[in-house]
Symmetry: C2
Subunit: 129 residues, 2 copies
Protein backbone atom coordinates (compact mmCIF):
# COMPACT_ATOMS: atom_id res chain seq x y z
CA UNK A 1 0.00 0.00 0.00
CA UNK A 2 1.58 3.26 -1.16
CA UNK A 3 0.50 6.86 -1.40
CA UNK A 4 -1.84 7.35 -4.33
CA UNK A 5 -3.29 3.81 -4.29
CA UNK A 6 -7.00 3.98 -5.06
CA UNK A 7 -9.89 1.75 -4.09
CA UNK A 8 -13.52 1.64 -5.19
CA UNK A 9 -16.51 -0.41 -4.07
CA UNK A 10 -20.27 -0.12 -4.39
CA UNK A 11 -22.29 -0.46 -1.18
CA UNK A 12 -26.07 -0.80 -1.18
CA UNK A 13 -28.14 0.33 1.79
CA UNK A 14 -30.39 -2.68 1.41
CA UNK A 15 -33.28 -3.58 3.65
CA UNK A 16 -31.03 -6.28 5.16
CA UNK A 17 -28.40 -3.68 6.08
CA UNK A 18 -30.97 -1.20 7.43
CA UNK A 19 -32.84 -3.83 9.44
CA UNK A 20 -29.60 -5.41 10.65
CA UNK A 21 -28.32 -2.05 11.89
CA UNK A 22 -31.63 -1.29 13.65
CA UNK A 23 -31.78 -4.73 15.27
CA UNK A 24 -28.15 -4.49 16.42
CA UNK A 25 -28.06 -0.93 17.75
CA UNK A 26 -31.75 -0.07 18.39
CA UNK A 27 -31.51 3.52 17.14
CA UNK A 28 -35.22 3.86 16.34
CA UNK A 29 -35.11 7.67 16.15
CA UNK A 30 -38.17 8.70 14.09
CA UNK A 31 -35.98 10.33 11.44
CA UNK A 32 -34.78 6.81 10.63
CA UNK A 33 -38.02 4.88 11.14
CA UNK A 34 -41.04 7.13 10.46
CA UNK A 35 -41.54 8.42 6.94
CA UNK A 36 -44.15 11.01 8.00
CA UNK A 37 -41.78 12.44 10.59
CA UNK A 38 -38.88 12.55 8.14
CA UNK A 39 -41.01 14.23 5.48
CA UNK A 40 -42.22 16.78 8.06
CA UNK A 41 -38.55 17.67 8.56
CA UNK A 42 -37.96 18.25 4.87
CA UNK A 43 -36.58 14.86 3.81
CA UNK A 44 -38.07 12.74 1.05
CA UNK A 45 -38.23 9.56 3.15
CA UNK A 46 -36.74 7.93 6.24
CA UNK A 47 -33.07 8.95 6.47
CA UNK A 48 -30.69 6.04 6.80
CA UNK A 49 -28.38 6.07 9.84
CA UNK A 50 -25.06 7.75 9.08
CA UNK A 51 -23.33 5.02 11.03
CA UNK A 52 -24.38 2.48 8.42
CA UNK A 53 -21.69 4.14 6.29
CA UNK A 54 -19.23 3.60 9.15
CA UNK A 55 -20.14 -0.09 9.04
CA UNK A 56 -19.28 -0.10 5.33
CA UNK A 57 -15.91 1.44 6.24
CA UNK A 58 -15.28 -1.49 8.57
CA UNK A 59 -15.80 -3.89 5.65
CA UNK A 60 -13.53 -1.80 3.42
CA UNK A 61 -10.65 -1.78 5.90
CA UNK A 62 -11.14 -5.33 7.11
CA UNK A 63 -11.81 -7.12 3.83
CA UNK A 64 -10.95 -5.05 0.74
CA UNK A 65 -7.34 -4.03 1.35
CA UNK A 66 -4.40 -6.03 -0.05
CA UNK A 67 -3.45 -7.01 3.53
CA UNK A 68 -5.75 -8.21 6.32
CA UNK A 69 -3.09 -7.39 8.97
CA UNK A 70 -4.64 -4.03 9.79
CA UNK A 71 -6.55 -2.23 12.53
CA UNK A 72 -8.39 1.09 12.50
CA UNK A 73 -6.80 3.79 14.68
CA UNK A 74 -8.77 6.93 13.78
CA UNK A 75 -11.89 7.50 11.72
CA UNK A 76 -13.52 10.83 10.84
CA UNK A 77 -16.65 11.29 8.75
CA UNK A 78 -18.72 14.26 7.61
CA UNK A 79 -22.29 13.73 6.42
CA UNK A 80 -23.33 16.10 3.64
CA UNK A 81 -26.57 14.73 2.22
CA UNK A 82 -29.20 12.23 3.34
CA UNK A 83 -29.01 8.59 2.28
CA UNK A 84 -32.24 6.67 1.67
CA UNK A 85 -33.20 3.00 1.68
CA UNK A 86 -31.90 1.12 -1.37
CA UNK A 87 -29.43 3.87 -2.29
CA UNK A 88 -26.36 2.48 -4.02
CA UNK A 89 -23.28 4.35 -2.85
CA UNK A 90 -20.06 4.44 -4.79
CA UNK A 91 -17.26 4.39 -2.23
CA UNK A 92 -13.85 5.75 -3.28
CA UNK A 93 -10.70 5.88 -1.19
CA UNK A 94 -7.15 6.97 -1.83
CA UNK A 95 -4.05 6.56 0.31
CA UNK A 96 -2.81 10.03 1.24
CA UNK A 97 0.00 9.10 3.61
CA UNK A 98 2.14 6.15 4.63
CA UNK A 99 4.00 6.38 7.93
CA UNK A 100 6.42 3.47 7.89
CA UNK A 101 7.99 4.28 11.26
CA UNK A 102 4.70 3.49 13.02
CA UNK A 103 3.09 1.24 10.40
CA UNK A 104 0.35 3.77 9.68
CA UNK A 105 -1.58 4.29 6.46
CA UNK A 106 -3.97 7.21 6.00
CA UNK A 107 -6.90 7.25 3.56
CA UNK A 108 -9.26 9.91 2.35
CA UNK A 109 -12.63 8.57 1.24
CA UNK A 110 -16.03 9.61 -0.01
CA UNK A 111 -19.41 8.07 -0.73
CA UNK A 112 -21.29 9.27 -3.84
CA UNK A 113 -24.91 8.42 -4.65
CA UNK A 114 -26.22 7.41 -8.06
CA UNK A 115 -27.20 11.03 -8.68
CA UNK A 116 -23.49 11.88 -8.57
CA UNK A 117 -23.79 13.76 -5.27
CA UNK A 118 -21.19 13.30 -2.54
CA UNK A 119 -23.17 12.22 0.54
CA UNK A 120 -20.25 11.81 2.95
CA UNK A 121 -16.49 12.10 3.11
CA UNK A 122 -13.76 11.60 5.64
CA UNK A 123 -10.42 10.15 6.67
CA UNK A 124 -9.26 6.88 8.19
CA UNK A 125 -5.90 6.12 9.78
CA UNK A 126 -5.05 2.44 10.09
CA UNK A 127 -2.18 0.62 11.67
CA UNK A 128 -0.53 -2.50 10.34
CA UNK A 129 -0.32 -5.35 12.87
Amino acid sequence: MITGDKFQHDFTVSDEVYTGFLDTFHDHNPLHTNKEFAVSKGFQDRVMHGNILNGFLSYFIGKLLPSEDVIIMQQDIRFHLPVYLNDVLSFSAVIVGVYESVGGVEFKFDFTNTGGKKVAKGKILIGTI
Copy 2:
Protein backbone atom coordinates in the same frame (compact mmCIF):
# COMPACT_ATOMS: atom_id res chain seq x y z
CA MET B 1 -29.07 21.17 25.58
CA ILE B 2 -26.45 23.62 26.83
CA THR B 3 -22.68 23.65 27.11
CA GLY B 4 -21.55 21.50 30.02
CA ASP B 5 -24.52 19.08 29.91
CA LYS B 6 -23.27 15.58 30.64
CA PHE B 7 -24.55 12.17 29.59
CA GLN B 8 -23.61 8.67 30.64
CA HIS B 9 -24.68 5.21 29.45
CA ASP B 10 -23.30 1.69 29.73
CA PHE B 11 -23.00 -0.27 26.50
CA THR B 12 -22.22 -3.99 26.45
CA VAL B 13 -20.50 -5.58 23.46
CA SER B 14 -22.73 -8.62 23.78
CA ASP B 15 -22.72 -11.61 21.48
CA GLU B 16 -25.93 -10.24 19.95
CA VAL B 17 -24.21 -6.94 19.11
CA TYR B 18 -21.06 -8.64 17.77
CA THR B 19 -23.01 -11.16 15.69
CA GLY B 20 -25.46 -8.53 14.50
CA PHE B 21 -22.61 -6.30 13.33
CA LEU B 22 -20.90 -9.20 11.55
CA ASP B 23 -24.12 -10.34 9.86
CA THR B 24 -24.93 -6.77 8.77
CA PHE B 25 -21.55 -5.62 7.49
CA HIS B 26 -19.63 -8.88 6.81
CA ASP B 27 -16.28 -7.63 8.13
CA HIS B 28 -14.87 -11.08 8.89
CA ASN B 29 -11.27 -9.87 9.13
CA PRO B 30 -9.42 -12.53 11.18
CA LEU B 31 -8.52 -9.99 13.89
CA HIS B 32 -12.25 -9.89 14.65
CA THR B 33 -13.14 -13.54 14.07
CA ASN B 34 -10.12 -15.78 14.75
CA LYS B 35 -8.76 -15.95 18.30
CA GLU B 36 -5.51 -17.68 17.26
CA PHE B 37 -4.82 -14.95 14.72
CA ALA B 38 -5.60 -12.17 17.19
CA VAL B 39 -3.38 -13.76 19.86
CA SER B 40 -0.57 -14.15 17.31
CA LYS B 41 -0.78 -10.37 16.87
CA GLY B 42 -0.45 -9.68 20.58
CA PHE B 43 -4.11 -9.35 21.59
CA GLN B 44 -5.75 -11.43 24.30
CA ASP B 45 -8.70 -12.50 22.14
CA ARG B 46 -10.67 -11.51 19.04
CA VAL B 47 -10.77 -7.71 18.88
CA MET B 48 -14.25 -6.27 18.52
CA HIS B 49 -14.86 -4.00 15.51
CA GLY B 50 -14.24 -0.36 16.33
CA ASN B 51 -17.32 0.53 14.36
CA ILE B 52 -19.47 -1.26 16.91
CA LEU B 53 -18.70 1.77 19.10
CA ASN B 54 -19.91 4.01 16.27
CA GLY B 55 -23.17 2.06 16.31
CA PHE B 56 -23.47 2.81 20.03
CA LEU B 57 -22.97 6.50 19.18
CA SER B 58 -25.93 6.28 16.81
CA TYR B 59 -28.10 5.04 19.68
CA PHE B 60 -26.81 7.78 21.97
CA ILE B 61 -27.59 10.58 19.53
CA GLY B 62 -30.83 9.09 18.26
CA LYS B 63 -32.39 7.89 21.50
CA LEU B 64 -30.69 9.25 24.63
CA LEU B 65 -30.76 13.00 24.09
CA PRO B 66 -33.55 15.21 25.49
CA SER B 67 -34.72 15.89 21.91
CA GLU B 68 -35.17 13.40 19.08
CA ASP B 69 -35.13 16.21 16.48
CA VAL B 70 -31.45 15.73 15.68
CA ILE B 71 -29.15 14.48 12.95
CA ILE B 72 -25.43 13.68 13.01
CA MET B 73 -23.29 16.03 10.89
CA GLN B 74 -19.72 15.05 11.82
CA GLN B 75 -18.29 12.21 13.86
CA ASP B 76 -14.64 11.60 14.76
CA ILE B 77 -13.30 8.72 16.83
CA ARG B 78 -9.86 7.59 17.99
CA PHE B 79 -9.36 4.00 19.13
CA HIS B 80 -6.82 3.65 21.92
CA LEU B 81 -7.19 0.14 23.29
CA PRO B 82 -8.80 -3.10 22.10
CA VAL B 83 -12.35 -4.00 23.09
CA TYR B 84 -13.24 -7.64 23.64
CA LEU B 85 -16.47 -9.64 23.56
CA ASN B 86 -18.68 -9.00 26.60
CA ASP B 87 -16.79 -5.86 27.60
CA VAL B 88 -19.04 -3.35 29.34
CA LEU B 89 -18.14 0.15 28.22
CA SER B 90 -19.02 3.24 30.21
CA PHE B 91 -19.85 5.93 27.68
CA SER B 92 -19.56 9.57 28.79
CA ALA B 93 -20.34 12.65 26.74
CA VAL B 94 -20.34 16.36 27.45
CA ILE B 95 -21.61 19.24 25.34
CA VAL B 96 -18.64 21.45 24.49
CA GLY B 97 -20.33 23.89 22.13
CA VAL B 98 -23.76 25.10 21.09
CA TYR B 99 -24.05 27.00 17.82
CA GLU B 100 -27.54 28.46 17.86
CA SER B 101 -27.19 30.25 14.52
CA VAL B 102 -26.96 26.90 12.70
CA GLY B 103 -28.68 24.67 15.28
CA GLY B 104 -25.46 22.78 16.00
CA VAL B 105 -24.43 21.03 19.19
CA GLU B 106 -20.94 19.59 19.67
CA PHE B 107 -20.09 16.76 22.07
CA LYS B 108 -16.86 15.26 23.29
CA PHE B 109 -17.17 11.63 24.33
CA ASP B 110 -15.20 8.66 25.56
CA PHE B 111 -15.69 4.97 26.22
CA THR B 112 -14.02 3.48 29.33
CA ASN B 113 -13.80 -0.24 30.08
CA THR B 114 -14.42 -1.85 33.47
CA GLY B 115 -10.67 -1.73 34.12
CA GLY B 116 -10.94 2.06 34.06
CA LYS B 117 -9.02 2.37 30.79
CA LYS B 118 -10.20 4.77 28.09
CA VAL B 119 -10.62 2.61 24.97
CA ALA B 120 -11.82 5.32 22.59
CA LYS B 121 -12.64 9.00 22.47
CA GLY B 122 -13.88 11.52 19.97
CA LYS B 123 -16.24 14.29 18.96
CA ILE B 124 -19.70 14.48 17.40
CA LEU B 125 -21.39 17.48 15.85
CA ILE B 126 -25.15 17.23 15.49
CA GLY B 127 -27.71 19.48 13.91
CA THR B 128 -31.20 20.13 15.20
CA ILE B 129 -33.96 19.52 12.65
